[in-house]
């Protein structure tokens, strides 16, 4: 024997259909079952797919009466009102029709035209005056279009295959702009034979349930029911979990790499003095990087304090003639006032300088890293920001060599997911030897510069540390790594905070 599973609501629909016996419109069904129309439609769809009901889609004419039509429906058409009056008084001069019947001039014209067209009256000329006279003995029967206009108020719906008379009447009313018509559709539903059997109880019916409820479980009723199957291919609503910013994810990952490699975090002020940002790193005071167009100098605070005098003297000497470093120096007169100028740090390397200055020989060997924001007086564009993150690392170790530097770099970039790494000579004012790191990007199919590194110059280390030992330093190009990973071409997107992007971009997985 057949079995079918239907929900309670579906059963209600089926039973209503069964009691009606004939096709029934959906809106009607909705009011009979007391289920919202939208829900009825989807129930019908489910029932149809189970072969229990069938639907018929019918076209119909939807009629709307215009304002003019509505007026005539109440008072009667102008010609109807005119013939009544004509029959009463026998004859009316054309020019007096409006006044006599109580019509507007326009209505009087319409009335005259239709009196003649319907053959209810004629015009005679007497002494040069046009006079209307009735051609009928008594008031004519209502015409089909008049009847229709009168009825519309009650029905408003006309089957699309209406009789010829009705269609003609409709077209008259439409031409007279008394109605507007439109073709619409509606669905009527009726039981199939199978559906009829179900209603009669000739088929075994299982109850179908949509939601798993506590009640179902507690009562054990879940054993006797069937859960309604879902269309698993349908789209569902979007969930947006709280997330870290995609840039933060990379920063946190880099932080982990540094820590795993045994580096300790450095920290320092965003507002720096030129001394720590430039002078301590042996950047001469007329170096282009110190220009106003590259560096944000501050109005408030304007000048900061220099560190202890002996350190300042050592830095000054290194710049001017090399001091005790064995260097020739930059050969100019170093200005303490320039070094006091406050600025927004242009790199995180100033943190390395501060850290080295605090080290004692018993702290060695030591490894440090920093991740922080830096500032450049650039014009914001797709390839440059005036504020961005940088990361830096140093190794202070008496036995450190350039070969170690390459070792650290290779390891560091391998942990960032790059397999092929190569090194070539480079130049930075505070390192010697200096090296540029290039990695092969398999997707881009080319070698990319990913950052600079080197051994700090003795002119940097000796004044800060009081001794000349190698300090390895590097700072990978952080933005580039982030942008490559996320396929971002416009660097401004890193801080655009478009929620769509923040919500949609995949997490940084690392490698």
């Amino acid at each position: 024997m057949d079995r079918v599973s239907i929900s309670r609501s579906e059963r209600r629909v089926l039973e209503t259909l069964g009691s009606q016996g004939s096709p029934i419109y959906i809106d009607m069904l909705a009011s009979l079952t007391d289920i919202p129309v939208s829900q009825v439609a989807s129930l019908i769809e489910d029932l149809r797919s189970k072969g229990l009901v069938e639907c018929v889609r019918e076209g119909y004419l939807s009629i709307e009466v215009t304002d003019e039509g509505e007026l005539y429906r109440r008072l009667g058409l102008p010609e109807r009102r005119s013939i009544r009056r004509l029959l009463e008084v026998g004859a009316i001069p054309v020019a007096k029709l409006a006044e006599e019947v109580g019509l507007t001039d326009m209505e009087a014209k319409i009335a005259g035209m239709w009196l003649i067209r319907r053959g209810w009256a004629e015009v005679e000329e007497v002494d040069g005056v046009k006079i209307l006279k009735p051609r009928v003995e008594s008031e004519p029967e209502p015409t089909p279009d008049e009847k229709l206009l009168g009825d519309i108020g009650f029905e408003g719906l006309i089957p699309i295959e209406a009789s010829r008379d009705i269609m003609e009447a409709l077209s008259i009313l439409e031409r007279r702009k008394l109605i507007e018509k439109d073709v619409k559709h509606r669905v009527s539903v009726r039981l199939t034979d199978y559906g009829l059997k179900v209603v009669r109880g000739e088929v075994e019916v299982l109850e179908e349930v949509t939601r798993v409820t506590g009640d179902l479980i507690a009562t054990g009723r879940w054993r006797n029911i069937v859960f309604k199957p879902y269309d698993v291919t349908l789209p569902v609503y979007q969930l947006y979990p709280g997330r870290r910013h995609f840039l933060r994810q990379v920063l946190d990952y880099m932080r982990r790499i540094w820590v795993e490699m045994g580096f300790k975090e450095m920290e320092g002020p965003i507002v720096e003095t030129a001394f720590w940002d430039f002078d301590a790193l042996y950047v001469p005071q007329d170096h282009p990087a110190r220009d106003m167009q590259d560096t944000f100098y501050l109005r408030n605070p304007c000048l900061g304090d220099l560190p202890d005098r002996s350190l300042v003297e050592r830095v000054k000497a290194a710049h001017e003639y090399g001091g005790g470093t064995g260097s020739r120096g930059w050969r100019y007169v170093w200005s303490g006032e320039d070094a006091r100028r406050c600025l927004l740090r242009t790199h995180t390397t100033c943190l390395s300088a501060r850290t080295i200055a605090k080290l004692k020989s018993c702290d060695l060997p030591a490894k440090f890293f920093s991740i922080g924001r830096v500032f450049r007086n650039e014009t914001l564009s797709w390839k440059s920001l005036c504020e961005f993150y940088q990361t830096d690392g140093i190794v202070v170790d008496e036995k450190a060599t350039f070969a170690h530097l390459l070792g650290y770099l290779k390891r560091y970039f391998t942990m960032l997911g790059f397999r092929d790494i190569r090194f070539r000579p480079a130049y930075f004012p505070y390192t010697e030897p200096s090296v540029e790191i290039e990695v092969y990007h398999p997707v881009y199919g080319q070698w990319l510069e990913l950052g600079g590194a080197g051994v700090f110059r003795p002119e940097v280390v000796e004044p800060l540390l009081g001794m000349d030992i190698p300090v390895l330093a590097w700072g990978p190009g952080l933005n580039r790594i982030v942008m490559m990973n996320y396929g971002i071409n416009d660097i401004r997107e890193l801080h655009a905070n478009d929620l769509r992007q923040l919500r949609e971009l995949p997490d940084w997985i690392g490698v």
Binding site: W258, L298, L406, P425
Partner: protein, 586 residues
Amino acid sequence: MPVVSVRLRDFCSLIGLDLSIDDLKDRMPMMGVAWEREYEDGFDVEVFPNRPDMFSVEGLARAYAGFIGVSEGLRRYDVREGGPTVYVDRGIESVRPYILVALIDGVNLSEYALESVIQLQEKLHISYCRDRRKASIGIHDAGRLEYPLTYRAVRGDELRFKPLDFDDELTPEEILEKHPKGIAYGHLVRSYGSYPILMDARGRVLSMPPIINGEFTRVTTATKRLLVDITGLDIDVVSSVMKILVCNICERGGVIYTGESIYEYDTPLGRRVKAPILEPYRMELNLDRACKLIGVNIGVDDALKLLRRMRYDARIIDRGIIEVYVPPYRVDIMHWVDLAEDLLIAFGYDKVEPIIPAIATIGGENPLELFTRKVREVMVGLGFQEVMTYILSNPRDQFDLMRTSRSPCVEIGNPKTLEFTICRLWLLPCLMRVLASNKHNPYPQRIFEADDVVVLDPLSETGARNLRKLAATSAHVEADFAEAKAVAEALMRCLGLRASYKPISHPSFIEGRAASIEVDGVEVGFLGEIHPEILEKLGLENPVAAVEVNLESLYHIVRKRSGSVGSAYEVSNRFKASKSAHTSTG
């Protein structure tokens, strides 16, 4: 960094070898120039700013010929006495005090060579000469000159001469107004009220440094004798530029005649200064130290050979001590580490085996960073999306938008845009801006930021310090005070803290719907419903509930409670002054 264009045929003929672009593209970067691009008959390379001697094809070829072992050792140039003399008038001392001149005879100025001289001059001007300020170069056809020369300052209308590329004679003042170079470089001399002029024995103007040369000594491919003048403010730079220029020009042949400048005043080099001095600079290199720095063992013989490839002369003078003669054009060599790097370049960066040394160090994060990450985790768990906005801001956003009164903050002296003129004091305005730019995105929008602001602090070394804060906003139809407070309470609960809340009046929040957050009697933040005027200004149609918290205060409290005794990362000085920090924004 300066980009130098090289014609392949010219480059090859200078080296005396046929070289392919592909080969050069591979090997030149290993010498220390960055490959830019190649084209039909040549290529562009980026030269590091410390190597002005390679700002032209001659210098690049000289270095590369050594690097690949075609010609090694110190390059010697034919220098003779008997060049031109220039008398330097006392009046120029306060304007542009130094001048050196030299003569090169027998140059062969092919089209390539002329092009190259002009390129070298331009690149030196821009980079090494700091846009002509420290030094500037004049190169002249010496054919019609009569000696001695005079270098002196003239008044703006004292004389007229025909500047390069002009048909009319102009006075110095007119040049500053009308000549493109006068317009571009006039600022270097205008303030002195008089103008440097170099003229020959008959009073004909060679140049008006650092602006423009005279048409009278225009150099053409037919020129056989070149007069070079270098003027400037820094005699070291003037002298270095002279060396680089004559050496590079003479890579194509020619005899250098030493010129002499006779000053009416004292200079660091005396009153009579000869130029160029092309004696190599002698240095000593301790090979053992160099090898320790590099981390590779290089034998003495190899080291000598490698140094010679970098165009030094080198010989062993003592055990492990190498005497190195540095060519005069190598103005970048100031320490033995510079020689060590050259040794390394010649050895080959690609031949150094990367080593990770076995040294034990203990890594670790700054505890405030760890704490901040905890806070971020909580916020993410509460369904908030992290945003990262700029520390740079402006008073309109930081104060006016938020209806707070303007208060002292870190101000930039040379801002490029009105958007970035100060450092932010609090985060909430930044989040409000983010909400304003995301009106097209689906709601609810719950966002947060946990990062630094910068506050003035007269007690700190730089007059300001970083301050870590947290701000969160929730924008949606039903966002209200209760949500803001629930978020703050959830955060406190996760951090093991209990906060109390007191009503406050804050211009950024609806009156009666704002509270301060206090923990252990310390005010750590505030929360509430954002004032409708702010929403209106930003065109936001949803209510916004907001919280802002001073994370350093919280961190301090948490640490104190846990009895933490401090660590290598002691940040106590960060929170000493932080109690008053957030109230400074109103």
